[in-house]
């Protein structure tokens, strides 16, 4: 007699049972612990010689800024970089994993990695997890077929665009791009536009802040400008320092040096083969 209450284990694939349980618990008021989200403004644009990526550097845990200077532009290949928004652990793990896969692929083919390869590896992974891996990415690079810029959404859909923004500050940044972007920008114009877009996100979005990171990728060359702009310096540092009035009273000072309990004998017999 088959007992219909027994759950037959599913054949292969990821099991989403615990996700259903989590949703059920959330409805009853038991929430997941808050995890570190990057909040974020990330942008990318294509200029005449290649691709420029930009990102802010604030990481948030709910209402708290947990990292004032985190790195959101991740290395994928010598000619491909990826900005990540969403859950910080997810973006880091997924870019790390695909970067590893691209390295192996480079060894096997003996060729430079292509941006579409990175794109397909990422979207396949994200689609497999049905959006539970919360990583929204802006992927950019220059390969033998030219410069490419893509956005990847957590559920696995992708867009190919000449300029793109993602994250909570994406609307503020996109406003800058839509008004000032044109084809055939020079490198300096491109960097300035990216900086303007990120700054717009930094100042107008709560989830983005601190500094601006920029990465310029051209054929055969890349420049990773970490903290290219620091528009939020810490002002008003008290030069006198802080003095706290009431200290703990020291009653007694006694120092006991530790005795060596183990004798080390040099030499001795080597272990048997």
């Amino acid at each position: 007699m088959s007992n219909s209450a027994i759950d037959v284990p599913s054949r292969g694939g990821f099991s989403f049972d615990l996700c259903r349980r989590n949703d059920m618990l959330a409805k009853k008021g038991v929430n997941l612990p808050s995890f570190r989200k990057t909040g974020t403004t990330i942008v990318g644009l294509i200029f005449q010689d290649g691709v420029i990526l930009g990102a802010d550097t604030r990481a948030t845990e709910g209402p708290i800024v947990c990292d004032k200077n985190c790195e959101k532009i991740h290395y994928m290949a010598p000619n491909i970089y990826c900005c990540g928004a969403g859950t910080a652990a997810d973006t880091e793990a997924v870019t790390d994993m695909v970067s590893s896969q691209l390295q192996l692929h480079r060894y096997h083919t003996g060729r430079e990695s292509r941006v579409v390869t990175a794109l397909t590896l990422l979207k396949k992974h994200l689609f497999n997890y049905q959006g539970y891996v919360q990583a929204a990415l802006v992927l950019g690079g220059v390969d033998c077929t030219g410069p490419h810029l893509h956005t990847i959404y957590p559920h696995g859909s992708t867009d190919t665009l000449p300029f793109a923004t993602m994250g909570s500050g994406s609307l503020a940044a996109m406003a800058m791009f839509e008004s000032k972007y044109k084809e055939g920008l020079t490198k300096d114009e491109g960097i300035q536009l990216v900086v303007d877009a990120i700054c717009s996100g930094i100042f107008n979005d709560l989830g983005s802040g601190s500094n601006v990171d920029v990465c310029v990728i051209t054929k055969g060359h890349k420049e990773y400008l970490r903290n290219h702009l620091l528009p939020n310096p810490r002002t008003f540092v008290n030069a006198k320092g802080y003095s706290f009035p009431k200290k703990t009273e020291v009653l007694l000072t006694k120092i006991t040096p530790l005795r060596e309990r183990v004798e080390v004998v040099e030499g001795g017999d080597a272990m048997e083969e």
Binding site: M97, S100, L104, Y107
Partner: protein
């Protein structure tokens, strides 16, 4: 010899305490093309004969020396297809190590893991041992290193070693010629001379392959032009 009754199954010891399949694998290695490696004071060189079955084969498509990581390279004697499989596995293991520890894999670790793979195939059902011996050359913080890995899964660190058809002559030659303070360029010359010893026919940049790794810790295979220059210096 009573051993032949025990040579059908890999996982059975013979009365003399040997695994006959591994002996046969070593024979397969011994009939492969000669390859050798020399550890210098500031680097390692590995080299091999590249005798192709016909003059019609495109020699630029044959790569007998492969890199496993940016600072570790490998050459083999024996069966080419088995080598390809081992290279793929080793590259993946090196990459997994890097993902886990975020540091480039030390040469000893990679050799150990490759040897473990080769040993697995001597203690499993329905598989045969790999018919290759590898010479792994690498440069990490412990300095330049050269390891030989056998089909049984045992590995040894060498200052200079050879494998394949001409192994005894080559090793005698290396024993005479090896000096502790040798520099990388001298080592390349010695390697070429050693290959020349047992070479059938005319040695040229098209029928040998040489890989080097120096203090910059970047393994690379020499281009035919560079080999031609070294050959000219040796003449």
């Amino acid at each position: 010899m009573g051993d032949s009754q025990y040579s059908f199954s890999l996982t059975t010891f013979s009365p003399s305490g040997k695994l006959v399949q591994i002996e046969h694998a070593l024979t397969a290695v011994g009939s492969g093309q000669t390859s050798l490696g020399i550890k210098a004071s500031n680097g390692v060189v590995i080299a091999t004969e590249k005798k192709l079955p016909s003059i019609l084969v495109d020699e630029s498509s044959v790569h007998k020396i492969q890199s496993l990581t940016p600072n570790i390279g490998v050459v083999y004697s024996g069966m080419g297809p088995d080598f390809r499989v081992l290279v793929r596995k080793s590259r993946k293991q090196a990459e997994q190590y890097h993902r886990l520890y975020k540091e480039p894999i030390p040469v000893t670790q990679l050799v150990r893991e490759t040897a473990a793979v080769m040993q697995e195939f001597t203690q499993s059902g329905g598989v045969r041992p790999f018919g290759v011996s590898l010479l792994v050359a690498g440069y990490d913080d412990k300095g330049p290193q050269l390891y030989q890995v056998d089909p049984s899964g045992s590995y040894f660190s060498w200052k200079a070693s050879a494998m394949g058809k001409n192994v005894s002559n080559a090793k005698t030659f290396l024993e005479k010629r090896y000096v502790e303070e040798m520099e990388l360029d001298d080592a390349v010359h010695t390697a070429i001379l050693t290959l020349k010893e047992g070479f059938e026919g005319q040695i040229s940049e098209k029928n040998i392959e040489i890989g080097i790794i120096g203090e910059k810790k970047e393994f690379r295979v020499l281009t035919p032009n560079e080999i031609r220059d070294y050959l000219a210096e040796v003449e």
